[in-house]
């Protein structure tokens, strides 16, 4: 194994080519290599490995072995396993043998654009040192036109690129020429890409690659996943044998602690500010710490609090997706140089390049999923032999349970199950237009090709034809646009693009990532001129969501980029803000945790709750809280769902504890209030947390349940996912949002038009208006279906809700209480939390919270 501090020789491409390691390499040590595979490794490679005191790992040789037979293969290996080299090794070996060929030999696809340059640089070392006749080039959205043009004429042996670029490549009329001698496709970070629409689009592009280069094998590289079989099937054409699985060597189990704070752990909220002194002490004791949080607003808050506690002037930085790219690069460079002591960051540092020698990962707030926690912990101590160090800081009492559940799951290396995304009609529409850009095609042949993707294996011909019709003329029952069709039928029956402008527009709009509408935030100077304040724009600090900025009035303060800023207004370039001396910002009110609690962790939390024997492992305050719950109400068994009803002030409350995540609870709340309304309970409102749901009403809910007028089993019956759901969704803003995404991905609305870069704001017609009109006049339109599918999948969590309702059938435990129970306090505190401004409300809330807690903790 590598010697300590020998960073130069760290294996390249753990996971994703973590790359400030300076060479492609492998880890030295005792290799137990199979001879058959060794025989595929030429002497030149052996010598190169040996010269560095390294030898290839088993899984690298196993991949080589499969490749030599021309087989596709899935390599699943933890971070730090030398995965990327395993992917490239077969190609380097083949290219070293120098068979006469032309065109691209190997296409490497990674979801992270920033990695491309890094990977290419890391490949250069072995290529140069072994004197291999191999050319390596990158191609991303930033690659200049001249270079692309040259790549078309003189393709490199190895092209390193992103999924969107593969779509563009196959939409090029010269694709057949460039890909004719392709031997290998390497798909990195496969676990992360298959769960998104990017993966769906990539799977379609792969069907085109397969048509041009049926001989090309595929190598999938993935972090550890719960269900590798889905990836094995995804990787190869539908109906063929799933790709064989090669497993990397597992790393040392991580060492995970949970902060045992001397402070009171709050009842609710997500800020974890109570623990700042303790977090600061940990940072001081470590060499380099990554502080992960779940949202950008949390990052801003934690950063600011740390800065105030920073009596030793430690170099601490902030890194999140809204910050200006230049600023982020600076932070990354400082990390790589080792000049920082801590970085507060969001998921922007989840994947990718290993920027520095991190020896501690602190996770503020619950990690929401076991896989995410493992991924983040993997950022520390990037070596297989040494355990990663991590500290979890729960931000409220339920999160203590969740952190404990996550700790146990991570210890067992248990992964959350995430399913590949399949059969997206809007993505298919984009692919069809791309196919037309490459040249005339036959509908039958394209259908056969598309259903060759595992993701579209169940696509019906009817839906395919509808998509095709949609691409051509919009797919409307009123055939108004035949003369403006994008696809025209030629005399030979093939379909072709009606105008070259459409290909140009396709190239500008390719991809499935629909950004929130963002506005740049610039630091402004205020000058007095003739007694008037004149605001002048300055340097860009970053970007914020337009909806957030539109909430602000001039003079409002907010936390951004680690500073308290005063909003000065909008101009044609975006928002203007000035620095302020105010220390009490109005904080961006993003929803608490951005990620939903994974089903797997939820199950563990329920089990822990149900088993008082394990409570001894919990901090005393939490233990007391649960014990009191047992006294005052009941602690549900793992398979049960507890429902409590109680009066408070002049209202009546119902609290349910499904533990299915905020998203599912929100949907459940919408549906339950509709039903309660029909039952005459007169519900007034509801609030959902990650763990529970509270509904308040005018009528006495305990009484209604007690006298049988309200049947809980009927209230929670699965049939709510039928008409109720459909009726609610059709009117909700959620549908409008998913419809907008589908309209953009499906090409109804162009994000960018040739010659003028349009922003979302200037889009031709507001998609809400289109949604309304379409819903009234053609409710079965394909884009409405696409929007519906996405809403059901992503925003509403219909599948999870369905599984939940099935699980609790006959398992509802009801308690009618006189007052609020301890378990109910956190979710009740969420009421009204969605819009807190300034200090006055905070004081009110604190006051209200105090009352509530007292009430819940009374023993009799």
């Amino acid at each position: 194994m590598i010697g300590k501090g020998d960073r130069q020789h760290r294996a390249m491409g753990e996971g994703s080519g973590q790359g400030n390691s300076h060479g492609v390499g492998c880890v030295a040590g005792k290799a137990k290599s199979s001879w058959s595979a060794m025989s595929h490794l030429p002497q030149r490679f052996h010598d190169w490995f040996a010269a560095r005191g390294w030898s290839p790992r088993d899984h690298q040789l196993a991949v080589l072995d499969h490749a030599a037979k021309g087989d596709s293969v899935l390599l699943v290996s933890p971070t730090g396993g030398g995965k990327t080299l395993a992917g490239f090794l077969p190609s380097l070996v083949e290219l070293a043998q120098g068979a006469k060929r032309s065109g691209i030999h190997t296409l490497y696809v990674s979801p992270l654009k920033a990695l491309a340059v890094d990977i290419a640089r890391n490949l250069e070392a072995p290529v140069a040192e072994m004197g291999l006749p191999v050319s390596v080039e990158t191609r991303t959205g930033d690659t200049p036109y001249a270079k692309r043009k040259r790549q078309r004429e003189q393709p490199p042996d190895i092209l390193i690129t992103t999924p969107e670029q593969v779509s563009l490549l196959v939409a090029d009329p010269g694709a057949a020429h460039m890909l004719r001698d392709l031997r290998c496709l390497i798909l990195d970070e496969l676990h992360s890409i298959v769960i998104s629409k990017r993966g769906v689009l990539l799977s379609l592009a792969l069907t085109r690659v397969a048509t041009h280069a049926p001989q090309a094998r595929r190598i999938g590289l993935s972090a550890t996943v719960a269900d590798p079989d889905a990836l094995r099937a995804w990787l190869v054409p539908a109906g063929t044998t799933p790709a064989p699985l090669v497993l990397g060597q597992p790393g040392a189990p991580p060492s995970i602690r949970i902060l045992k704070s001397v402070e009171r752990v709050p009842w609710s909220g997500h800020s974890a500010l109570y623990a700042i002194p303790e977090i600061y002490a940990e940072i001081k004791a470590a060499r380099m710490t990554l502080v992960f949080v779940n949202t950008r607003s949390q990052a801003e808050m934690v950063f600011q609090s740390l800065w105030e506690a920073n009596d030793d002037h430690l170099p601490i930085a902030l890194h999140h997706g809204s910050l200006d790219v230049g600023q982020r690069r600076k932070v990354e460079a400082a990390m790589a140089r080792g000049t920082l002591r801590a970085v507060v960051c969001t998921s922007t540092l989840d994947l990718g390049i290993d920027w520095g020698d991190v020896d501690l990962v602190i996770h503020v707030g619950a990690p929401k999923g076991s896989s995410r926690l493992l991924q983040r912990i993997g950022r520390s101590n990037h070596r297989l032999d040494a355990p990663s160090e991590a500290l979890l800081v729960p931000s409220n009492r339920f999160e203590v349970l969740e952190c404990e559940a996550a700790r146990q799951a991570a210890k067992a290396n248990a992964q959350d199950t995430q399913y590949p995304s399949v059969l997206k009609l809007d993505v298919l529409a984009q692919h069809i237009l791309g196919r037309a850009c490459a040249g005339p095609f036959a509908a039958d042949a394209l259908f056969a090709e598309v259903t060759g993707a595992w993701t579209y294996r169940n696509l019906s011909r009817e839906d395919f034809d509808k998509c095709l019709d949609y691409v051509a003329t919009g797919g409307y029952a009123l055939r108004a646009y035949e003369r403006y069709a994008k696809l025209k039928r030629q005399a030979d029956g093939l379909l072709r693009l009606s105008h070259p402008r459409l290909a140009q527009s396709y190239r500008l709009n390719v991809g499935t990532i629909v950004e929130e509408e963002m506005l740049k935030v610039r630091l402004a100077h205020v000058k007095k001129r003739l007694g008037k304040r004149v605001v002048m724009g300055g340097r860009v600090l970053g970007e914020l969501e337009e909806w957030f900025l539109s909430q602000l009035a001039v003079g409002d303060t907010f936390l951004f980029s680690g500073e308290v800023l005063r909003f000065e207004g909008l101009d044609e370039f975006g928002a203007l803000a000035t620095r302020t001396t105010s220390r009490e910002p109005m904080i961006p009110s993003y929803a608490g945790g951005k990620f939903p609690l994974s089903t797997y962790l939820a199950e563990r939390v329920r089990e822990m709750l149900a088993n008082p024997k394990v409570w001894v492992t919990l901090p005393p305050q939490v233990r007391d809280w649960l014990s009191l719950q047992r006294w005052k109400s009941v602690v549900p068994k793992a398979n049960q769902m507890l429902v409590e009803t109680f009066p408070r002030a002049d209202k009546h409350y119902l609290v349910a504890y499904p533990f299915e995540g905020r998203l599912a609870h929100q949907s459940l709340g919408m549906l339950l209030t509709r039903r309660l309304e029909r039952k005459g309970a007169q519900p007034l409102g509801f609030v959902a947390s990650e763990y529970a749901l509270v509904i308040w009403a005018v009528r006495d809910l305990s009484l209604l349940i007690g006298n049988g007028r309200l049947d809980l089993a009927a209230l929670f019956d699965e049939d709510m996912l039928g008409d109720d759901l459909e009726a609610w969704l059709a009117e909700s803003n959620l549908m409008k949002r998913t419809f907008r995404n589908a309209a953009i991905i499906g090409g109804l609305i162009e994000r960018r038009q040739p010659g003028l870069e349009k922003t979302g704001r200037q889009m031709t017609v507001n998609t809400d208006l289109i949604y309304d009109v379409l819903r009234t006049h053609q409710p079965d339109h394909i884009l409405l279906r696409a929007g519906w599918d996405d809403a059901a999948d992503g925003l509403v969590d219909v599948h999870r809700l369905g599984a939940f309702l099935k699980r609790i059938r006959g398992q509802i435990v009801h308690r009618a209480l006189d007052t609020v129970s301890p378990l109910a306090v956190p979710v009740l505190l969420e009421i009204g939390r969605e819009s807190i401004y300034g200090e006055a409300h905070d004081a009110l809330l604190a006051e209200a919270a105090g009352e509530l807690v007292d009430e819940a903790m009374w023993l009799v």
Partner: protein, 242 residues
């Protein structure tokens, strides 16, 4: 799961209903705002409608943006609903009724006959707008540059007003927003002071422009807005909205 939300009976994408509580006064006349964005002048039994933008969908379709081709149908349906509720005796369109000069050629036969039925049922005036400087002549009704309604002039684009001049115009597609409990709510609106009233756009694909944008600068003194909510019209003084 197939997506087939049946629109409720009588549902329309933009609700209609004459306000019982709000009246907008101008030059001693009273005007009643309708939830749909139309305006009723009871003294003249006239229904005023601004910025229909018929055939905006097909106009964009020529450039390959295939928006649902139902916007004209939807706008006319809305119009029929307002007429049925308000029961006016005449119709006045304040310009930009047609999205472009070729709208007449692209309009669907069914929609065209509906349009002709309207002008047959009611005396109609089409005021010319910048999108339709020459509205089609073969659909019935008269074409004018401006219309005087007592002391008030109806025209498409607002103009600099002389002493004692009053106008009702369209063209600007006004919208306003208010902040409440941390949420900013934005709706189309009527804007008026004592001399001028600007109507919201009626057409189903028409966007809207915030009243704090430069286009509105200098048009109003101390004004109010009447915001078109989902179920009711809400009136706010200028200071409350942007």
């Amino acid at each position: 799961m197939p997506f087939s939300p049946k629109p409720q009976a009588n549902s329309s994408t933009r609700p209609c209903g004459l306000s019982r509580t709000h009246k907008i006064g101008l030059g001693g006349l009273e005007f009643l705002p309708d939830l749909s964005g139309a305006l009723y002048a009871p003294d003249f039994k006239a229904l005023l409608v601004a910025d229909l933008h018929l055939e905006k969908g097909s106009s964009l379709a020529r450039r390959g943006v295939h928006l649902p081709p139902y916007d004209t149908r939807e706008s006319l349906r809305q119009l029929r609903a307002v007429i049925a509720a308000v029961k006016p005796e005449r119709l006045i369109f304040l310009g930009d009724s047609f999205h472009d000069g070729e709208a007449r050629q692209r309009i669907d036969a069914g929609d065209l006959s509906e349009l002709r039925a309207l002008t047959g049922d009611f005396p109609t005036i089409w005021i010319a707008g910048n999108h339709d400087p020459e509205p089609p002549e073969d659909i019935g009704g008269g074409i004018m540059g401006e219309v005087a309604l007592g002391p008030v002039t109806l025209r498409h684009e607002p103009r600099a007003l002389g002493d004692g001049e009053l106008e009702i115009a369209g063209h600007l597609h006004p919208a306003a927003s208010v902040a409440q409990r941390g949420h900013r709510i934005r709706c189309r609106c009527f804007v008026a002071d004592t001399r001028r009233l600007i109507m919201p756009a009626f057409g189903s694909y028409t966007g809207a422009l915030g009243i704090s944008s430069a286009a509105f600068a200098g048009l109003f003194g101390d004004y109010h807005v009447w915001m078109l909510g989902a179920r009711a019209i809400h009136r706010f003084p200028a200071g409350k909205v942007r």
